[in-house]
């Protein structure tokens, strides 16, 4: 019996156009090619059959039905890509039964499962054929096959989009066969804006991250899972706090306002900014926003596509300037029900401590700076022990766990997926944790052949326990500065304070108390839901309607208990902060898809979309509560009441269209156009128009290259387009009012005064991008090389105008004047070093981005401020956010050096830092500040190795960032030789008359030379190489699991952030941007470090 497999690639015998009847086998081949699906049929069965030719302007199911009508055959859809032709049910035999029936010459009977070598998923409908006899069978719905062949027979095993494989039937019994995905993944479908496309048809720069990559990293937020996965996408964790924010830069920083990409979750756009969506704890002393995306459970994600160039992003128009991240969540599949559990537990720890002085060293230090003589504890230094190790007190081994349950399944008509997840992660700083409970339900139903409907509901609730960090009064910062003399807790269980009467003056509280006593809880409840209906008007015209909503409630409650400890005290204070936001979206899409005259593939998408967001917030606080146990607002002192509130509203009305045209699979053209009308734009610029055009040439499809066996793919892409950034504030065009206090008749009144000068012309910031790319596949795509170069120019950046005071102190209007440029190179190299049973793949990517601020208009320069200090400056001609300060030129060793040097301060003495006189005027002042470092890396590189050996899978992920600098604010204090505070051990090697070649200046509690000023002294090399992830998994043999009706058990262990090689003296050189502020990158302000974590887990599928 012959079983043929028609693949999309197979050339076919062309049929004569004028005859109506054609050979069924030929027709099936043709259908297979046209629709890009595999059709499995028994050559014997169809051999003689002649059928009527069909037009291809109808769904494949319809064609097959018509074709087979008179043949006594029927078809079955195994999956989206595979159809099998079989005898009609009443024909009483199925193909597999028939096989065994026909085989009379019994030799040995083999059976087993044909599976994907990586995922261990059964390959339904896979072919297994004895090479000699051409007899064989196909795997059933569970991937099982059963075959009787001669002993030692060579079997050809094949499956669509998998590498074919020869196996030898050595002995009777079970023989499981693993197939690897074909390197010819060109026909992989990727999600693009408002649709999906075959990867081979792409003309733009799109990175796709699949389930497997996402599953490798047990992470709290989805941004972590993306880190290092894609060239040109630079992701840093702004804070290592559980649930902490991330900054994502796709092809550099393109705005001074917000440079974060647009996230689209199942078609619902979400901006990860904090306006109206996320509570900040900045004002409480902590410095970082938490991420709004932590409400999304990464386990629910099926794939993530990152759209990088304008050709790919332009369909998102005014929101696409910073790139677009498309997130597709898991959907139901038809077929048998699958229940799966995925659980892991983990432990995180600080992987590096900063050595600070112990008690004795601290005492000696104090005495050196002329303090501590009255401290009775310091009378006999020899008696001093090490004192309190504050880092040991505030850092901990933190536990985390994750449990995920999923149930998927469905019939041919209805598919569903239900998942529920519980995630809990403690932070490595005591008192911090994050938890999330989430569920997702997805249902798709085919009402009939033409109408499909579906719904997707994602609900989650997160709770963050925040400890104040990322600021000079944060827990980490103060833990490093608190003297070892202060006990964490006293013997009677109270929080420790400097002992009475010894004059130790501290301006901050016990760090442990700060971490655990302050209650700061941020709860978010999110409901993300959408429904759709899809209607096939004709076989080539489809209409789709979607309605979606995003509801987010944030409750942020804070309580500061009263205390009186040593030199510091505080009144109690309670604050309640509520923030509600509501968003809706209505979308209508028409898709036209047709092949005209065989070679012309045309897809046209036309759409209309309306969306609106509103938010309101309310914040109330009172002080002086009667007791630290009573945290209710109404109990506070009414006179201290502060109530604030606000609301905002925005809307976007959009029309868009896309044309995809392909000629003979060789020449591809994509053109998009979107018109966005935004409430944020001024009256004179309500609508923005965003066009793009891209062209790709699949050179490898040309006749002159078709015969080059080694070359499996060669494609050149070029694209150009304009997109916008509408994140310019909700009302920057409007003239706003400011509430002011005026007293009339002894009454305090609220009056209104104009706040700003309006600019009715305010519009989006635009980004114009040119992209040139090449995709190269060699040796059956075992080597895949992708290169892209781009030039992205951000124009019309919104900057404040500078006004004279005669304009009355009104806030200046924002005007679209700035310009910034990003040029870059992205290389990706994917290789399959070994295939087969031992499988080894390497993915490497390399990115270079060069940022330059071209024009800032009259603004001249922008300043990034932390701790009220200007740290960065952004000027024309340099990259955004350069560190700005004095240059430290060593240390003065004697008075004559000071006398000869330019004047610094009246208190300058030997042992002080010598600063450079940039303008040569003999005085060191503000005019001598200059650019002292850059947060931007020269390049980044990521290497991921995935290895499968038998049932083991191993993954090793290394991330490297080179050439960036970190501004170490923390060092300003722990190496600042301040009074009373503890110091880094580096300060032990400070300048003294006996230690002239020191790098740390003399100790002096008052710092009369201002050695702590912002200078190159605190700029450090921020390059690092990090073992980001290493994991090992083991899949239990089916033989064992099948007995218990378990289809898969995989056990794994994984470690994240295992080692970091860096010269940086602080905890962690990966700093990120401060609150996603594009002007402040790489400034370590006592950042919550990302811990090293080890997790162990199991996946179980039933």
């Amino acid at each position: 019996q012959n079983i043929s497999l028609a693949l999309g690639k197979t050339s076919y015998v062309s049929t004569q156009n004028d005859t109506q009847k054609v050979k069924l086998s030929n027709l099936l081949n043709e259908i297979s090619k046209h629709y890009g699906v595999g059709i499995i049929f028994d050559a014997e069965q169809v051999d003689k059959l002649m059928v009527e030719k069909q037009s291809y302007d109808q769904p494949i199911d319809q064609i097959l039905k018509k074709v087979l009508k008179t043949t006594g055959l029927d078809y079955k859809k195994l999956n989206d890509q595979t159809y099998v032709i079989k005898l009609k049910k009443d024909g009483s035999t199925s193909i597999s039964n028939k096989t065994t029936e026909i085989k009379k010459i019994e030799k040995i009977k083999i059976y087993g499962v044909i599976m994907d070598s990586e995922t261990r998923e059964p390959l339904i409908g896979a072919n297994i054929i004895e090479a000699k006899t051409k007899q064989g069978t196909i795997a059933d719905i569970d991937g099982n096959y059963e075959l009787t062949v001669e002993e030692g027979a060579v079997l050809d095993v094949s499956y669509i989009s998998y590498e074919s494989k020869e196996v030898i039937a050595k002995s009777a019994g079970e023989m499981n066969i693993f197939l690897s995905k074909s390197a010819k993944i060109l026909d992989e479908v990727v999600v693009v804006g408002y649709g999906s496309q075959k990867k081979s048809d792409l003309t733009g720069a799109v990175s796709s991250i699949g389930l497997k990559e996402l599953e490798q990293l047990p992470s709290t937020g989805l941004e972590q899972a993306l880190q290092g996965r894609s060239a040109g996408v630079f992701i840093t964790q702004n804070s290592g706090a559980p649930g902490g924010g991330m900054s994502v830069r796709i092809r550099g920083t393109g705005s001074t306002l917000t440079a974060e990409p647009l996230y689209v979750i199942d078609g619902i756009p979400i901006v990860n900014d904090n306006q109206g969506t996320s509570a900040t704890f900045e004002r409480d002393g902590g410095g970082q926003y938490s991420s709004a995306l932590t409400t999304i459970n990464p386990n629910d994600i099926e794939s993530i596509e990152i759209l990088k160039d304008a050709s790919a992003t332009a369909i998102y128009g005014a929101r696409a300037a910073n790139g677009v991240v498309l997130i597709t969540t898991k959907k139901g599949t038809s077929g048998s029900q699958t229940i799966s559990f995925d659980s892991y537990v983990g432990m995180q720890q600080l992987y590096k401590t900063i050595p600070v002085m112990d008690l004795r060293q601290y005492a000696e230090y104090l005495q050196d700076i002329g303090l501590g003589t009255n401290v009775e504890e310091f009378e006999n230094l020899d008696l001093l022990g090490p004192g309190t190790d504050w880092q040991d007190v505030i850092f901990r081994n933190a536990f985390m766990r994750n449990n995920q349950f999923s149930l998927t399944g469905g019939s041919e008509k209805t598919r569903f997926s239900f998942t529920a997840g519980v995630h809990k992660k403690n932070g490595i700083v005591i008192g911090s944790d994050f938890s999330r409970n989430s569920t997702k339900l997805n249902v798709d139903h085919s009402f009939n052949k033409k109408v499909r409907i579906g719904a997707n509901i994602l609900a989650s609730r997160t709770k963050e326990n925040i400890t104040f960090n990322d600021n000079s009064n944060g827990v980490i910062y103060t833990a490093l500065l608190t003297p070892p003399l202060v006990p964490a807790k006293t013997l009677d269980g109270n929080f420790g304070a400097p002992p009475d009467g010894n004059n130790i003056v501290l301006q901050f509280d016990n760090p442990l108390a700060n971490a655990v006593e302050i209650e700061d809880i941020n709860r978010k409840s999110r409901l993300l839901g959408s429904i759709y209906a899809e209607f096939d008007v004709t076989s080539w015209l489809k209409y789709r309607m979607e309605l979606a909503t995003d509801v987010l409630y944030t409750n942020h409650n804070t309580f500061w208990p009263a205390y009186d400890r040593g030199t510091v005290s505080r009144k109690s204070k309670v604050r309640r902060n509520n923030n509600n936001s509501l968003y809706w979206l209505n979308k209508h899409l028409l898709t036209f898809q047709k092949t005209i005259a065989k070679d012309h593939n045309v897809t046209v998408l036309a759409g209309f979309e309306a969306q609106e967001g509103t938010y309101e917030w309310l914040s109330a606080s009172r002080e002086n509560l009667p007791s630290n146990d009573l945290m209710e607002l109404n109990l506070g002192d009414a006179g201290t009441q502060v109530v604030n509130g606000g609301a905002g509203h925005w809307a976007l009305l959009s029309y868009f269209g896309r044309l995809n045209y392909g000629y003979a699979d060789r020449y591809l053209l994509t053109s998009t156009l979107r018109a966005d009308g935004s409430s944020r734009f001024g009256a004179n610029n309500k609508y923005g128009l965003f066009p793009s055009l891209a062209f790709a040439w699949r050179t490898s499809q040309e006749n002159f290259l078709k015969d080059v066996k080694q070359l499996s793919n060669l494609k050149f892409r070029v694209g150009y387009g304009a997109v916008g950034n509408q994140e310019i504030g909700l009302y920057s065009f409007a003239s706003n009012l400011r509430a002011t206090n005026a007293v009339i008749g002894n009454q305090l009144l609220t009056a209104f005064a104009p706040d700003n000068i309006a600019n009715e012309d305010v519009k989006w910031e635009s980004s114009i991008q040119f992209n040139l790319g090449m995709d190269l596949g060699l040796f059956n795509n075992r080597i895949e090389f992708i290169v892209d170069i781009y030039n992205k120019t951000s124009r019309d950046m919104l900057l404040p105008a500078i006004l004279p005071a005669t304009a009355g102190g009104l806030n200046p209007p924002f005007i679209n004047i700035g310009e910034m440029r990003n040029n870059g190179l992205e290389l990706t190299l994917n290789t399959q070093n070994l295939t087969g049973k031992t499988n080894w793949k390497t993915s490497a990517n390399f990115s270079i981005n060069r940022n330059e601020v071209v024009n800032l208009g009259s603004t001249g320069s922008l300043t990034g401020i932390i701790q009220q200090l200007p740290i960065t400056r952004t000027v024309e001609g340099l990259p955004i956010g350069q560190y700005y300060g004095h240059i430290a030129d060593g240390i003065f060793n004697d008075l004559s050096e000071i006398a000869e040097a330019p004047f610094q301060e009246t208190g300058t003495r030997p042992g002080d830092i010598k600063f450079r006189d940039i303008n040569g005027d003999g005085v060191i002042n503000d005019a001598d500040k200059t650019f002292i470092g850059s947060p931007h890396p020269d390049f980044t590189v990521n290497v991921i190795n995935d290895i499968n050996i038998g049932n083991f899978d191993i993954s090793i992920f290394i991330r490297g960032v080179y050439g960036n600098e970190v501004f170490n604010m923390l060092a300003r204090d722990i190496e600042g030789t301040g009074a009373w505070v503890n110091q880094s051990q580096v300060v032990l090697d400070r300048w003294t008359t006996d230690n002239l070649d020191a790098e740390v200046p003399r100790a002096n509690g008052n710092d009369p030379n201002s050695n702590r000023r912002i200078s190159s002294r605190f700029v450090e090399d921020g390059s690092y190489i990090r073992l980001q992830n290493a994991s090992i998994g083991y899949t239990l043999p089916k033989v064992l699991t099948n007995k218990y009706k378990i289809s898969l058990i995989r056990l794994y262990a994984s470690g994240q952030n295992l080692f970091t090689f860096s010269k940086y003296s602080g905890y962690d050189p990966e700093i990120g941007s401060f609150n996603q502020n594009p002007l402040i990158n790489g400034v370590d302000n006592g950042r919550f470090p990302v811990g090293r974590s080890i997790t162990c887990g199991a996946n179980i599928n039933f």
Partner: protein, 458 residues
């Protein structure tokens, strides 16, 4: 959607008072209009105030920059009212009242600017994008013309009195008093006399005992007050009187709010200024002395009475061994950091009486015997417990003004009107240069606006 109703018009109008009430206005004015005079000096060396005190001020001086900014801020809020309120449908009489308040405030601000800086940019519209915002300076005469036009409208359209709920808002008499001083400054003495006479004949105002102007509670909106900035204690920043914080002697615990910095103190006697300090100027029997300056042994039972009052230390509490008493009222429930409830006298009836005397003397070649004028002058003297005069001279009026309005931000302008300011300051021991008659245009304004020129000498 604002500027649609009468209530909107009212709220917009009231916003102007948030500027005059702010710390940056009267909490700051003394740095410009008292510190450089013979009345006061800085409490201690200060990079901002000392150069003003000793006439080494440079164009980047911060209080000077603030002074410029705050005055244009008030002008902008006035222009806001003048731009939007005319289009609001409402009672026409009330509307013209609001407009008159805006004209009043705008003139009030320009009057300070023109006297401090000379030629200044005239802004009479609300700044808009596209409109030329880089305005050059206009000559002094044009500025005065604007001031006079604005105030004439104000005198005609403002109400004569305010109900207690509107106390603090401009009245026609406040406008007349300011306008009278404008005329006095421009030398139109007849017009000044007419306006003063008008106010006097209204019988709406009278002098109150000295103490009643300076004791808490009674001083607010008393019979002498023509225009007071209204304050409440312990409200949001800029709604209380901040002067106590600057004037109260340092380290005496008077305010009980860890403020009281003695930033401005009465001039200290030095070898260079024998007999010219304000302390020297006060006769011992002058009732105003006790309420103006604190000298050794003075007791103030009204300051923190629960603690038995305050006694000024015999060795003094400043380097001058005297401190300012005006606006120092001590602590209490209604007193917070930089915030007391005591209203601030912008213009009071005594000023009108002395303006009448000054204008009359100047018109008559330096002296006056006109009974009404002499009587007006003597009212002020008698209230201070001093003897009557028969003949008054310009010089006497200025001497009287110095004592009557000590530390009330009049001295610099009085010295300017008197003429000879350089000589006066020289006798007082301070080297004032020609160019110090005017203050410098702030550096940052010059940097932003290339159409501005700097005053000579800076």
């Amino acid at each position: 959607n604002f500027y649609k109703t009468a209530s909107d018009a009212n709220l917009a109008t009231i916003s102007m008072y948030s500027v005059t009430g702010s710390i940056n206005w009267f909490g700051l004015s003394w740095m410009i209009t008292e510190i450089p005079t013979d009345n006061t000096t800085v409490g201690g060396n200060d990079p901002d105030f000392s150069p003003i005190d000793n006439f080494t001020i440079s164009a980047d001086n911060s209080p000077n920059t603030q002074y410029w900014q705050q005055h244009y801020k008030l002008i902008t809020l006035a222009n806001q009212v003048l731009t939007y309120v005319p289009g609001i449908e409402m009672d026409e009489e009330i509307k013209s009242g609001y407009l008159a308040e805006a004209y009043f405030m705008r003139a009030f601000s320009y009057f300070d600017l023109v006297r401090i800086y000379g030629d200044v940019p005239i802004v009479t519209t609300l700044p808009e994008l596209g409109q030329d915002l880089l305005i050059p300076r206009s000559p002094v005469s044009e500025v005065y013309q604007l001031i006079i036009d604005d105030l004439l409208f104000a005198t005609e359209n403002l109400p004569d009195t305010r109900p207690s709920s509107d106390m603090g808002r401009a009245t026609s008499y406040a406008a007349k008093a300011i306008l009278s001083k404008v005329y006095l400054t421009t030398g139109e003495y007849d017009k000044s006399i007419t306006l003063c006479t008008d106010i006097i004949n209204s019988n709406q105002y009278k002098l109150v005992p000295v103490a009643d102007n300076w004791l808490r509670d009674v001083s607010d909106n008393n019979a002498e007050a023509i225009w007071q900035v209204q304050y409440v204690g312990c409200g949001p920043l800029g709604t209380g009187n901040a002067l106590q914080a600057f004037f109260a002697p340092w380290g005496q615990g008077i305010t009980q709010n860890s403020d009281g910095w003695g930033s401005q103190i009465p001039t200290a006697p030095t070898i260079d200024n024998p007999g010219t300090t304000i302390k020297d100027a006060f006769k011992s029997e002058d009732l105003r002395k006790y309420h103006s300056i604190m000298t050794a042994g003075d007791e103030y039972p009204m300051i923190n009475p629960s603690e038995g009052g305050y006694k000024y230390p015999s060795q003094g509490a400043s380097r001058a061994q005297v401190n300012i008493k005006k606006y120092v009222i001590g602590g209490g429930n209604d007193v917070c950091f930089m915030s007391t409830p005591q209203n601030y006298h912008v213009i009071r009836y005594a000023d009108v009486l002395l303006m009448l005397a000054e204008a009359s003397c100047k018109r008559n070649g330096g002296l006056s015997v006109t009974p009404e004028v002499v009587s007006a002058f003597n009212q002020v003297r008698e209230r201070a417990g001093l003897s009557k005069e028969e003949v008054i001279t310009t010089e006497m009026v200025y001497k009287e003004r110095r004592l009557e309005f000590a530390f009330e931000n009049h001295r610099w302008f009085d010295l300017l009107r008197e003429g000879n300011i350089q000589k006066t300051m020289q006798l007082h021991g301070k080297q004032m240069q020609d160019h110090n008659i005017l203050f410098p245009i702030p550096t940052q304004e010059l940097a932003i606006n290339p159409n501005l020129t700097q005053n000579e000498g800076y």
